[in-house]
Amino acid sequence: MNALSAAAPSRAPRAAFGAILRNEARLVWRQPAGAIAAIGISTLILVVLGVLPVFKQPSSRLDGLTPFQIYIPILISFSIGILALVYLPGPLVSYRELGILRRLSVTPVPASWVLAAQLAVQACLMLIAVLIIFVVSVAFYGQHAPGNLGGFLLALVLSIAALFAIGLWIAAITRTSGAVRGISAVILYPLLFFSGLYYPMQLMPSVMLDISHFTPLGAVVQATVYPMFGEFPPTSPLLVLAAYALVFGFLARRFFRWE
């Protein structure tokens, strides 16, 4: 490589990614439905559960945990799920529909940077949601921070990766903003059921719990509940999450269209 070619690189300035990220963050701030759903609703449910005494009684049917404790990982999975499956593919599909991705593809900046910025912004919202869930339950409801922090963070990273992959796959197979809303809802609501959001899985026939372990949000609950009480997460939910991340990541990459 000679001095001339080094002096004239064809890489876009790094400031460009910062500018894209800032604009995506502004959009989340100005259209806060996703943030409200993920952070506001989970906090609200947590507070409601926390004030009901019956949710603070340990139950043998819940492996000696209180219903409140059972709901902490469920609300984490709810926050990650709704952001990754609804509020990630929504903007991406509309950007493609509006020609925003196409317009970017004729600038020095790759259109994939706006996708990366979306992932970064949604991941931030997820982390804020998880943080608030813990701050509220530790500060007001006598809970502890995750006993096995390393295990918890590993579970969290795999959970986010798995759900992002599914969200990107939804964006890949959907053409219009109208369709993406429908598809996201059809996928999200059954997954929320199997996470135990409406009714804890442990209180259902055991076959339901078995199914739940193989669903993405059920696996998130399984992977995050153990490190909360000091244990390393069991292998099977981690493998389930990794498998979702790989398979749907591959499918998303294979079928995603920029225009």
């Binding site: 400031a15 020609g99 317009r103 020095p108």
Partner: protein, 311 residues
């Protein structure tokens, strides 16, 4: 490799969608600093040509070079030096004009002055407005601004003045001329005659995917008409041979009181002088110079006729 003085070099470009041939063996070359128009009816293949030039579409055959670079193989370098305004591109509803411009500005190494650009396009008062609150014309102007914000060596503008009112159109034209004067080569896709006539140094007239004429606006008009037409009322009778003998004249016809002379070059002078020498005065002299629009209609009709004859 292309010669250094040509900014855009398109050779034997061909592109079909399924069985529909959109662009069929199109070749042209645009000199540095030129405003080159691609003019044609809807569906003629103008946009497809522009999309191939900007690297958005891969040609089925043919080569494209932008200052020697291949828009697909050398994509990144090409995008640094080529500014693009696409038809039907939109932006996020809840971003402000200034935020969109500011973001695109960071994409380029030595961007244009945003203030100057928004002033020239009449967007100065709109920098703090959300994109969704802009009118169609204002969105179009923003789109033109974004094509020019990287100080491109080549700007490809597809229906730049669509949705602009006459005032906005003139502002946009002035800006394009200024940008050209600073050395940017402009490839202008349009179906708007006045724009092509006013701005373009040369025009490629495209119909059904083929170039049917490539010349200066005046040249295309001349070719379509076979020249210009002078109409006058003679002060008295005269022998037609006075005029048919002139080199400039191709045809002399009578239309009621009017005499209609078709020809080329300095037709009016030649006709008036010859009549004067014959002792006849030409009154009410009118020069009909065909507009580009006439030429366009005539050339596309001829092209269609040729096609019909062949099949």
């Amino acid at each position: 490799m292309s010669s250094p003085e040509s900014a855009v070099e398109v050779t034997h470009l061909r592109k079909s969608y399924g069985s529909v041939v959109a662009v069929d063996d199109v070749s042209f070359s645009v000199a540095v600093g030129e405003i080159f128009g691609i003019l044609g009816p809807n569906g003629a293949g103008k946009t497809t040509t522009a999309e191939c030039v900007t690297g958005l579409r891969e040609p089925d055959a043919g080569t494209i070079r932008l200052l020697g670079l291949d828009p697909r193989a050398d994509g990144k370098q090409v995008h640094e030096i080529v500014g693009v305004q696409l038809q039907e591109s939109a932006f996020q509803a809840k971003l402000r004009v200034g935020e969109i411009l500011g973001m695109y500005r960071t994409f380029y190494r030595s961007p244009a002055d945003t203030g100057e650009l928004v002033d020239a396009l009449g967007l100065a008062g709109k920098r703090h407005d959300y994109y969704r609150s802009l009118s169609g014309g204002q969105r179009q102007r923003l789109s033109v601004a974004l094509a020019l914000i990287g100080r491109p060596k080549i700007a490809v503008l597809d229906e730049m003045s669509a949705g602009l009112d006459p005032q906005g159109r003139r502002e946009a034209w002035r800006l394009i001329e200024q940008v050209r004067d600073r050395g940017t080569t402009i490839l202008l896709v349009t179906h708007f005659m006045e724009e092509a006539e006013r701005l373009c140094d040369r025009i490629a007239l495209i119909d059904e995917g083929r170039i049917i004429a490539l010349d200066s606006p005046a040249g295309i008009v001349g070719r379509a008409r076979g020249g210009k037409t002078v109409r006058f009322v003679p002060s008295g009778p005269f022998n037609s041979r006075v005029l048919t003998g002139l080199a400039e004249v191709t045809k002399v016809e009578h239309d009621g009181r009017d005499v209609v002379v078709t020809g080329t070059g300095e037709l009016v002078n030649a006709v008036v002088l010859a009549l004067h020498a014959a002792g006849v005065e030409a009154r009410d002299v009118r020069l009909d110079e065909a507009s580009l629009e006439d030429a366009f209609v005539r050339l596309t009709a001829e092209h269609e006729h040729d096609q019909g004859g062949q099949s």
